[in-house]
Amino acid sequence: MRRVVITGQGAITALGHNAHQTLEGLREGICGVGELTFQDNERLSVKIGAQVKGFDPADHFNRQEVALYDPFTQFALLAGKEAVTASGIDFEGALAERAGVILGTAGGGLQTQDQSYRAVYAEGKNRVHPFTVPRLMNNAAASHLSMRHGIRGPVYSVSSACASANHAMGQAFHMIRGGSCDAVLTGGSDSMLCFGGIKAWEGLKVLSTEACRPFCATRSGMVQGEGAAVFVFEDYEHATARGADMLAEVVGFSMTSDAADIVLPAQDGAERAMRAALRDARLSPDDIDYLNAHGTGTRANDKSESAAINAVFGDHTRHLSVSSTKATHGHVMGGTGAVELLAVIMALRTGVIAPTIGFRQADPECAINLVANDAQEKPVRAALSNAFAFGGLNAVIALKRI
């Protein structure tokens, strides 16, 4: 089987408009959460979120592009462009057909749906913009990435709620490892911070109204974010032949389903996913120096994830550094695994583990070695990144230093 490496990364998040700024925010533990600013926000009971700030689409796209791209597509295109440029990869010639785009998204063009429904239901208009459908479809971002970069192999979107990006990146890994692609643009993108988006989530009573505090005894729920991260996954030989910079190696992936509850996580599913990712990567629990947790800041997830970590890592749990970066960039939903992979790559490359900010008090139900509030420096040989979704879907990816 072929080896798979990451040769480029790009991002846009509440922490900044590129990977560099996002990494700086992750490292320094900057909180990207603020008061939500969009139409009708005064009618929300949850008023905070991690919005991408200071972003003007006109700085990046022409008039027709702005008309055609929902924000989740705009974010994916910017992150994708950064990743491709950094990687130096060129999809010209034969590579075009040996390359793909596999992108995770939970909400797709939710902003477009929100605006269009507002127009016809609330404002009584009787027509919506002609690009409503091509804007809102879940594969819009993947398709526009393929058009921009001339990628003509497998292109599709993956939607599995909060595990979307990990599922997408896992598929990209499989395709390259198995030999059906030489390079894949992969990651995830979501932009669900709009009135309808938050209103829907309010109903579930899992959003915090004050802050995201993963694994903290005083945690009060998740905080939504938005943004995208896109990576170039590439066959090791292909990357070597063109002298590409390699950021990390993707060595394992696994997916499991709880088959239990539509919203409550099950420890068993998370446990099996981490074990299977280790097996797939041919790593033992002791080889893992860092685990980027799903760590949403909800009562249920953090408790069950902590228990699963203890079950998988046993005595090594106290040496295993764990952090959840969601308190900085928010829960980026279908893009979150991709944004969090930036922290994993940073840990492998620079030995800096991004902190879990907002932490105030240890919770006996979360007995893990949490990197709280300040970054930790230590050599990281290999790492896991967890993503667990509503619907009981778990996707875990394993990376190694290269």
Binding site: Q64, R127, P130, F131
Partner: protein, 97 residues
Amino acid sequence: MRDEQTLGDEEVRKKIREIIALHVKLDVQDLSGNQSLEDQGIDSLSLVEIIFALEETFDIAVPYNTGDPDLDRIYTSSLAVFVTAIEGFVAEQSPTI
């Protein structure tokens, strides 16, 4: 309301041309009445955008689906023919404009 500020034929035509110009990325005075929309770089996606903008501006419904022979005809013949067709819809459906 609108009948207070009725647009003359000349103004309707001017407005139509402005909307088209915005989508062709040309100045209004550079639009050619003799050339078709197709020849002036309007693709099918831009055409639906233009029609939407015209419908919104004049509160009319342009009764064509993409691919209708009638739409093809006004799209591939001259800009003047297109403008005249739209003026017709405005006169029929929005006589107060």
